[in-house]
Symmetry: D2
Subunit: 293 residues, 4 copies
């Protein structure tokens, strides 16, 4: 019996190189790459193919790029000029047990995979992946904070908005660097956890009372929470770093008008630690393969 | 208009003294105590009454002891010989806006309060209270660990089972003291959070592989997770501390048979820090009074 | 050539059991015990002797009890009724390369060893031993603080006097448990280090300004620093723990008069973690044997 | 009686702006600036002068730039085109109680001040200043580590060489970010302190045994400690950051030959946090003025 797992990686960016490297170390794994023809270095034991060379009926899993597909089924191929489009029909040719991995999904991808009767794993939706990714996200935030201020994080007053998967990591690591951290959230239990962690906390409704005495504000809440009222009392040296996905949680126009530096810093794991970000994906995909196949 | 909040405290233990003290500092609050007649020290501005002196129709809130009532409606009065029984009829005499506080509840209490059309607040069920209480719980656990070992927590290998409200606090504080902490849980996201916190982690299914090399095992999971298989390979100096409510998560009989010291340490907040435990209740009740009245 | 190291352990307490155990694991080490005849358990490969059975001329090292000798040369033998007295003549019979270990020393011991032309290692004087021992000392202090207060260390205000070998460990671990730590010292660099560690700090001269708002005061300074002026403004719940060797740094009489609980807690490593305390000695003696022999 | 302190600041860089701002807040302080004529913004209540307008006999203190003077007595004036040279005669015109501040000193400055019978304070030689400055130094190091690796500091293996004023701060903050830190030093007490801090440690002699399994090496030892033997076994992704003053502690040529990235990162406080660096100087100068005048 063939216990080898046949996996095709279709496109992807720098993070995928480390993920592929991780998967190649997994026993009984056969990996084919499509959309990596411009890659200078190869991976030992890994074959590069064109889309039409791929034998779909032998595949156990396909790994799409982090953004999944466009609404037209197009996928990002950073390391190739090849244009790859995945039609609904294409998905239907995959074996019924074939797992489909992506970072995030959209209607087109969800529907295409669903109609083909396959299982989709949008990895970025998973709590474990979000928490692992919070680590490089925090380090990117630290780097940005150091680069964009003329004072130290140590001893500065830092507001962190949200104590979710990213917020908790941000708050604890900034505190670890010696900042005085104030966590703003809407849940009473978040205030209790902040207190247990040795941090100050407040109800997000009262944010405006805190911004006037703040050196760095870091937002992780994907909703407009930092508005004119909160911005207008800020001191001129205050730095805002918004980590929340587009459109973010800051009134950037108002901040600009008031001369408050506000940065919308997205995609930090891929920027500051593509190797770690890729490893995280490799580890999680490997675990899912073991459980599901 | 009378904006004073009329509150009756019916019974309670040492923790309630600090809670009462906290509430007396709240503005516009009138507090009556029933079941505290043997208390040596009084509270300034607080009246002591008998059950029959209480004017029920003016009450805005009643605070029952932590255990609530017995299935017969009896309540614990540590500071009184008076026997107090709360009948279903009694609850019906309370005004419809009157809030009922207790630590935990049972069928009798839930039904009695429900049938009277009142709102019940079993405080110990709240996430914020559970997290605040995890702090004295951790300190009790630390004290027990130091008392019951002849080695330091620092540099010892400590397994913490569960990364819930108590588990997370236990794990982070033992790590803060220099222990090498291994967190066992069933959720992948808990493994990710453990890793972010700098702790080792494993799936609770694999616990037996970890117990042979463990100095202290602390359980917070309210389910039988440490069984003969997990105990039999433990070294003779290993200390087990079970924090989970009765019946706990340890096969205590088997541990005893193997000569492994296993302590079921319950009610730690009230034991090691009754003042803090009372303050927590005072703070949370005060918040609820503001929101609900 | 005989490369075996011949070591005699003369007396000692519970800590010495772990130290002996550690040394027996060292290769090429032959250990003789004197003054352990009432010990129930033995050590495999270790011989118990009487004083007169000891072949002095083959010894490479002797290990005396932690307190060294009395001024008459008597040594403490917790595990024996044998009275052992080490005369100046006795030391002169030891080979010239023989190392002499003790915890502390006094004039008699220093002179006796010196006149015999031998090298004395009073281990407790060493910085590394003092720092290693600070770990169990801290844990003992934590235990005492938890046992003797009705509030948590977390969120309490803790003054630590001295940022030496013990003080630094105490300060960092109490902060790790969530206390708000204020370090009092006389050196500007200690204030800088406290600040870097995220702690508050003040000049010890200004101590009186800090004691009125303090929940726990921990002293490590071996000089009278907490006098009536500092004690008289303390709140009644304040707990003083003095770690400094006799006579300590607290006016205990005045504290008593004011009803302030003040504990002089000495010898904590041997009390809370004799195994760890013994291991520390074993590790350090082993290192010295390698370097010196 | 005139209790006003008359201070002249002669040259200096961006850090000095914050220092001046800090000193202007000190009561009874009159500040004159020389060498700041190209500064766009002024300081309220602070006068700008030319060298020859300065009334030397009324001065209580002069503050020279961080580098002091050249061996010819020239000083750095970043905010001026004026060439300022301080002759030995010039120093002799200062009142005998006038304090002279600089960052570091050299033979010329030490001699000139000494011959004039004045007291020189080379601030960077002070332990407290070195420790305060270690904070921005650490943050600069963190920034560089994040910028120059494609993996996270969290979970990476970091060697820190030296546990002095900078090394201790570096080690603790990298550990706080989740790195596995190994401290290399020559003192046994440093190994004990590392262990107490929860870090691994080794004798610097054995460095070569550790470099093969290291992701980031940070040196604070001002002596050649990382030589070919230590570099040749490093993995290609290893990053070396040398913080030690020129010539540093790394064989940079050999590292280059082996393709190991090695950065000599000096002057970090002034680069990443000039405001904090200036504040540190302001605080320390203010303290000295109080004590000495
Ligand atoms: N910049 C980057 O590189 C990067 C990296 C990773 C993630 N992200 C982004 O960061 C954001 C946070 O991610 P996450 O994983 O931490 O998400 P999460 O775990 O869902 O946390 C979101 C937090 O926001 C709070 N929140 C949501 N809506 C709110 C509202 N209207 N008012 C107050 N609080 C509200 C949530 O509180 P409740 O618990 O009360 O709902 C929670 O604490 C997302 O937008 C994510 O895409 C960015
Ligand atoms: N000793 C004391 O003084 C003291 C003080 C406070 C609380 N307690 C007790 O401590 C226990 C924990 O309290 P808590 O507030 O931390 O509760 P919690 O937040 O609900 O945490 C319970 C933990 O146990 C895990 N768990 C539950 N059932 C499990 C199972 N069958 N297998 C594996 N994991 C399981 C949960 O994991 P999931 O998230 O996967 O469900 C969670 O991590 C309770 O029994 C509570 O009464 C004792
Ligand atoms: N209770 C126990 O179980 C236990 C365990 C271990 C040690 N100890 C005892 O604890 C004490 C401290 O030990 P250690 O190893 O930390 O000693 P250490 O490293 O010498 O520290 C002593 C501290 O006290 C300061 N100090 C000394 N005299 C002072 C004075 N007159 N005014 C202000 N500060 C002063 C020192 O500051 P400078 O640096 O300015 O001199 C230093 O910070 C000793 O008495 C030791 O015997 C007790
Ligand atoms: N890059 C920057 O921005 C920046 C900022 C601040 C400082 N610095 C520089 O960083 C370096 C360290 O500063 P610091 O304040 O930490 O100095 P420090 O407190 O004197 O520490 C130096 C450390 O190096 C050790 N050491 C010295 N010579 C050694 C040798 N031959 N072998 C082994 N260890 C040795 C010392 O150990 P012992 O205790 O055993 O002597 C000590 O641990 C200096 O060169 C300083 O100028 C750079």
């Amino acid at each position: 019996m063939d216990t080898t797992k046949h996996i095709a990686v279709l496109g992807g960016d720098a993070r995928y190189l480390e993920m592929i490297k991780h998967l190649t170390k997994s026993p009984n794994t056969d990996i084919k790459l499509v959309g990596f023809d411009q890659l200078s270095e190869g991976f030992s034991g890994v074959k590069q193919l064109n889309m039409d060379e791929l034998e779909l009926d032998s595949l156990d899993a396909i790994i799409l790029p982090i953004p999944g597909t466009s609404e037209e089924g197009l996928i990002e191929t950073v390391f190739s000029a090849e244009k790859i489009q995945l039609t609904k029909e294409w998905f239907k040719k995959l074996p019924s047990h074939c797992l489909v991995f992506s970072g995030i999904t959209n209607d087109y991808l969800t529907n295409s995979v669903g109609e083909a009767g396959l299982k989709l794993f949008p990895l970025m939706d998973r709590n474990d992946v979000a928490i692992y990714n919070s680590i490089p996200t925090v380090e990117g935030t630290i780097m940005i904070a150091i680069q964009n201020t003329n004072f130290t994080i140590h001893s500065s007053k830092v507001i962190v908005l949200g104590l979710g998967r990213v917020g908790m990591s941000v708050a604890s690591k900034f505190a670890g660097l010696g900042a005085e951290v104030f966590v703003g959230s809407r849940k009473k239990e978040d205030m209790a956890r902040s207190m247990e962690m040795g941090l100050d906390s407040f109800n997000i409704n009262e944010l405006a009372a805190y911004t006037s005495n703040c050196d760095i504000l870091i937002n992780t809440i994907p909703a407009l929470v930092v508005k004119d009222e909160e911005i207008k009392t800020m001191q001129s040296h205050t730095l805002i770093i918004d980590l929340a996905s587009k459109p973010g949680g800051i009134d950037f126009d108002f901040a600009k008008k008031r001369g408050i530096k506000a940065l919308h810093s997205l995609g930090l794991p891929g920027i500051v630690a593509p190797k770690t970000a890729g490893e995280i994906l490799g580890i999680v995909i490997e675990q899912i393969l073991i459980e599901e196949l």
